[in-house]
Symmetry: C2
C-alpha cells in the first residue's frame, strides 16, 4: 500500500464522518488546527482538503468568530458541477458538442416529466419569462434570464442531480453562447424567436403534451447552437 497523501486522509475522514452520520448539513467542521492535530497532519494539508470540499460545494467557510464562522456543511452541488464542467471544457476533456447533446437529453427528460406529472409548480418559470418579455434586454441580460428559465424547469422537476448537472452544463458553455450571440445577424429577431419558443415549451408542458414539449425543447436548444455556429464559416 502506497502511503496516502496527507490531504486525502482529511478528505477520507470527512467523507466517513458524513457517511456515518457524525456530520450532517448545517454542522460545523472542527477548526483547521484541531482537525490537523486530530488527524496527525499539518494544517496546510487540512486546508488543501477543505479547499477541495469548498470547490465541490460541500462546505462554506467564513472568517471571524461565532456561530456563522468556520467551515459549515452546506452540500450545494451547483457550484462544484459548474467548476468541474467549465474547466473540463476549457481543458478539452469535454467537447462542446457533447455538452449540448447532454443538455438535449436532460432537458428533454425534464419537460417530459413535467408534462406527464400532475400540476407541476411552474410559477417561477412563468415569472422569468414575463421578466424577459417586459423590456428590451442586452444579450448578456437575456442569456442570464434564459439560463434561469431552463434551470427553473429543472428545479420544478424536483431532481437535484439533474438540476445541478444542468447548471454545470449551462455554465460550461456560457462563454460559447455569449460569443455566438455577438455574431448573430439580428439579435432582436433571434431573441424574439427564443421567447416564443419558451412560451411554446411552457404551453406544451401545461397541456400535458410530452412529445410536443420534448420536440420544442430540442428545437429550441439545437436551433440556437446551429444558428450561432454558422459564424464559424
Amino acid at each position: 500500500m502506497t502511503a496516502p497523501r496527507a490531504w486525502q486522509v482529511v478528505l477520507d475522514a470527512v467523507e466517513r464522518d458524513l457517511l456515518d452520520g457524525r456530520l450532517s448539513p448545517g454542522d460545523h467542521l472542527p477548526p483547521e488546527r484541531t482537525l490537523a492535530a486530530d488527524l496527525g497532519v499539518g494544517r496546510s494539508s487540512v486546508r488543501e482538503a477543505l479547499r477541495v470540499l469548498e470547490v465541490l460545494g460541500l462546505i462554506r467557510t467564513a472568517v471571524g468568530s461565532g456561530p456563522s464562522a468556520g467551515a459549515i456543511i452546506v452540500a450545494r452541488p451547483g457550484g462544484g458541477m459548474s467548476a468541474l464542467m467549465r474547466l473540463q471544457v476549457a481543458a478539452q476533456g469535454f467537447a462542446v458538442a457533447d455538452v449540448v447533446k447532454t443538455r438535449l437529453v436532460l432537458e428533454g427528460s425534464i419537460v417530459t416529466d413535467l408534462a406527464t406529472g400532475d400540476s407541476p409548480d411552474l410559477a417561477s418559470s412563468v415569472q422569468i419569462l414575463t421578466a424577459m418579455e417586459g423590456q428590451p434586454l442586452t444579450e448578456a441580460e437575456f442569456l442570464a434570464l434564459d439560463a434561469a428559465f431552463h434551470l427553473s424547469l429543472a428545479e420544478a422537476s424536483g431532481n437535484q442531480v439533474v438540476t445541478a448537472t444542468m447548471a454545470g452544463l449551462r455554465s460550461a458553455i456560457e462563454g460559447y453562447a455569449r460569443a455566438g450571440a455577438a455574431g448573430l445577424p439580428s439579435w432582436p429577431a433571434t431573441s424574439a424567436r427564443l421567447m416564443l419558443e419558451h412560451r411554446g415549451i411552457l404551453a406544451a408542458i401545461l397541456a400535458g403534451e410530452a412529445d410536443a414539449a420534448r420536440l420544442a425543447m430540442h428545437t429550441h436548444i439545437s436551433g440556437y447552437y446551429a444558428e450561432t455556429h454558422l459564424r464559424d464559416h
Copy 2:
C-alpha cells in the same frame, strides 16, 4: 469588488491559459514555486489551487525530475465527477433516488443512440459480459464488472460528458449497490437474472430496436434497486 482569494487567482490564471490556448492537454504547468512568484501569491495558495485541479481531474502531479515529473494537464473528468457525486450523496446534497433516476435517463439515451446508430463498436461490452459469465464471481467482482459493462456502453456512445457523468453516478451509489446485494435472498439467482438482462439489452441494441433496448435497460436498473430496497422494511 471584494478581494479575490489567492487560490482563486491561481485557478483563474490556469483557466484563462487553457481557454487562450497557452495550455493544452499534455503540457506542463510551471513549477509551483515559479507559479507562486509569477502570480504574486504564496506557494501554499498555489498548492490549494493545484489540489482542486487534481481532484477535478484536470492535472496529474508527480514528484521527481524529468519530463514525467511536475503537474501535467490530463483532463480526465471521470475521477472528479465521481468524487463530486460521491461526496454530495454522502452529504445528502444528492438523494440516492435522484441518482438512480438520472442513471435511467442517461442510460436510456445511451442505448437509444447505440440502437439507432449504425454499427456501434460494442466489442469491449461483449468481452465484459463474457468475462462475467465465465465463472462464479463474488458480489464485489460482479458489481465491478457490471459497472464496467454500463460504462463501456457509455463509451461506445462516444459522448464524453455522458460517460463521465455515468461514471460519477455509478460510483456515488456503489456503496448502496453493494449493501443491497448483501441483503438479497439469493445472490446467484439475482446475478443470473442480471446477466440475462445484459444479454437482452445488447441484443436489442444490435437488432436496432431502440424502444426495446431502452425498456430493457430501464427494467434492469430500476429492477435491481427495487429489489435491494425491499430489505429496508
